[in-house]
Symmetry: C2
């Protein structure tokens, strides 16, 4: 067999989390009790109002392709949402609805990158970001970050690592896998620094709304936002609509037409029932329910954090958002994949090795997703497990 | 402003059909009576059983990401569907569910193309195919085809245009924009020829099921199918689910793992409600309803064809499938975009210029989609319009 596979496709790393998930499901099928803390999605289903709105639209025959940029009513409603919730002035014409923020990330990077262009991002980071860049034959410049900067890029790091081959910088706030934020004034300075260098700043706000102890924010609320800022967002996480595959980007005006043409080719339009469902999830009642879910995540974060501390585990940060805790396990293992595999086998607790998120310290870290209620129990099992290891 | 836009993105041609659609909608809003024959999707909404199944799954909390390869139950059901409808032995493990066949096309080409690799396709062809290849920095080798080969590639054309830089050949049967088929034995010979040269044959069967005067077929029913054949399909057209964004590919075994990893990065999973909806549309009752719709399309094709002939228009082929008629207008105009714009303005009939589909004869052709019931009326208006032109 000499039928070819492309070089970029061949080098794409598998998702370790999918492997863990597969093993966990196999063990579950064998009757083992599994605590799922591996997957990056809310355990809650989407809200009933979403299902009803999608169904109602379908019954009215609204099941055709929508315009590639999205339903005008949804773009308008999102603009209003930015205004009332984030005090951000965003024009509906700059909002582009996409099939998941995954497509928004791909669309935006395709619009701006030529082969060999560099994209700066933190290590650890959301793994697909690296792959999007490499599929476009761009180069990933991964900057190792640690607890000193809340595992985030900073103006100082941009200055240190700057080179003119860099065409875009990607950040996420709150971030996956660390749950940490970048302060808005720091983001502002980074946007400014990059704007002066004709470089884009891509801000992934997909965990926006899932922020604890403080109000949720958007970079779009800043006055005089330079037009190198591109925001990525999604109905997946805060809005609890992962399976509906709906996201959006807020793009500067000069990119809208090119993003439209790219979307026309890459995916035609985002799912129509999901777009009608999303109209419902932006209503007052739905937002009240989502706020209750946010509080549940906050309680879980607090419970996980204190259980870990009581177990004597050293945590370098208190995550301020999303539903992740990134935990340094190097005192027990420098092979996080083995650690996760053994932990799952021994205790039934499924978590994700850091190697999914970065190469610099990935083998020393694991990610715990508090998308399960069985938090204290999980930590007890982990504690019992690490006791069996030579520290 | 010197913020960059990538070269590949900048050169992407706009869809003329979207421009015509926009103009048609504007005229409609001004009170003008428009007959829509421009858009490539069934005018029917999706079936009620789809809505019910999607809703029922959502109410049961099935709104999370599915495995990237798709719901196991849907993959299995499609395998059964191939067996019972097409007498094709397809393993569920070779079926990969995607968000629209658009994603299937992108996924497959990403899996096999390196930069500068060539992809052979007919001119005219479905426009996105060219763009998918160019976004990957591959090269499109477009072979002008005409009514002699039913506007399709043939073994003879492959032999004539063969070069070892060609890594894939793309065909569609039935095809967009021409509605023509390739006979299965011709396809078989092409697959064999390409297999001997380690070249893939990508067969787009997205209009499968919408075939007239003869039974629908699949290349997958062939015995000893060489493993260079990749099939693309969709729930959009025959199954009437455009807005649900659901398609699939049947890929040779050696590509499944790499397609899985690519999908994990590019889109995570196909829409979950759509996948549950698709399970319903593969049931007996739904298929009976879809067969009735197929008959309606067949009647429309016959009506359109005879109305055109009665109007004295010369048609080079009788389309055997899909819902398109490709019509040579060169006797009145060698600028199909102007022709379509003027026709719309003068008569309210919206059709698509051939320039969307190819550069070789695109200015001499237009595409009429019989996705409207007002067929005789449309032809009368066209007839009155061309009388005003100097032949
Ligand atoms: C940081 C980040 N961005 C983007 C995504 C993509 O999510 P979706 O495509 O469901 O919007 C994810 C999913 O986990 C994520 O963690
Ligand atoms: C030949 C052909 N292939 C693929 C597609 C993509 O359709 P979808 O993404 O809805 O499955 C189309 C849509 O018009 C088409 O005409």
């Amino acid at each position: 067999m000499t039928l070819p596979i492309s070089r970029t496709a061949e080098q794409i790393a598998p998702f370790r989390v999918m492997k863990i998930l597969g093993q966990a499901k196999t063990l579950e099928a064998e009757g083992k009790d599994i605590i799922h803390m591996e997957i990056g999605e809310p355990d809650f289903p989407s809200l009933a109002c979403v299902h009803r709105a999608a169904m109602k639209a379908a019954e009215q025959g609204l099941t055709h392709y929508t315009p590639t940029l999205g339903l005008p009513s949804l773009r308008k409603k999102l603009a209003q949402f930015y205004r009332s919730f984030y005090h951000a002035k965003v024009a509906a014409s700059n909002i582009i609805i996409t099939p998941g923020s995954s497509s928004a990330l791909q669309l935006v990077l395709t619009a701006i990158l030529n082969p060999s262009d560099q994209v700066l991002m933190a290590d650890p980071t959301y793994p697909c970001n690296r792959q999007f860049v490499e599929l476009l034959h761009g180069k990933v410049k991964a900057v190792p970050v640690d607890a000193d900067t809340q595992y985030q890029l900073s103006l100082k790091l941009l200055e240190q690592h700057w080179s003119k081959e860099i065409k875009a910088v990607m950040v996420a706030s709150p971030a996956n896998p660390t749950g940490t934020l970048i302060e808005q004034d720091a983001l502002h300075d980074m946007a400014q620094f990059l704007s002066e260098r004709d470089c884009y700043l891509i801000v992934d706000e997909i965990y926006q709304g899932l922020v604890y102890d403080r109000p949720a924010e958007s970079i779009l609320a800043q006055r005089d936002l330079p037009d190198n800022v591109i925001v990525i967002n999604s109905f997946s996480k805060f809005f609890g609509m992962t399976g509906w595959r709906l996201g959006w980007t807020v793009a500067p005006t000069h990119l809208v037409d090119v993003l439209d043409r790219l979307g026309q080719n890459l995916y035609l339009s985002a799912p129509t029932p999901s777009q009608y469902g999303a109209l419902a999830v932006l209503e007052e009642d739905a937002l009240t329910e989502l706020e209750q879910r946010r509080q549940i995540f906050q309680q879980r974060r607090d419970r996980l954090h204190s259980a870990m501390q009581q177990a004597g585990f050293n945590l370098k940060t208190l995550p301020q958002g999303a539903f992740y805790l990134y935990w340094d396990i190097s005192q027990w293992s420098r092979d996080s994949e083995q650690f996760c595999a053994d932990l799952l086998q021994a205790t039934g607790v499924a978590i994700t090795p850091g190697t999914d998120f970065g190469s610099s310290q990935g083998n020393h870290y694991v990610r715990l997703a508090y998308t399960s209620e069985r938090i204290e129990e999980a930590v007890e099992r982990i504690q019992a497990f690490v006791r069996t290891l030579h520290a």
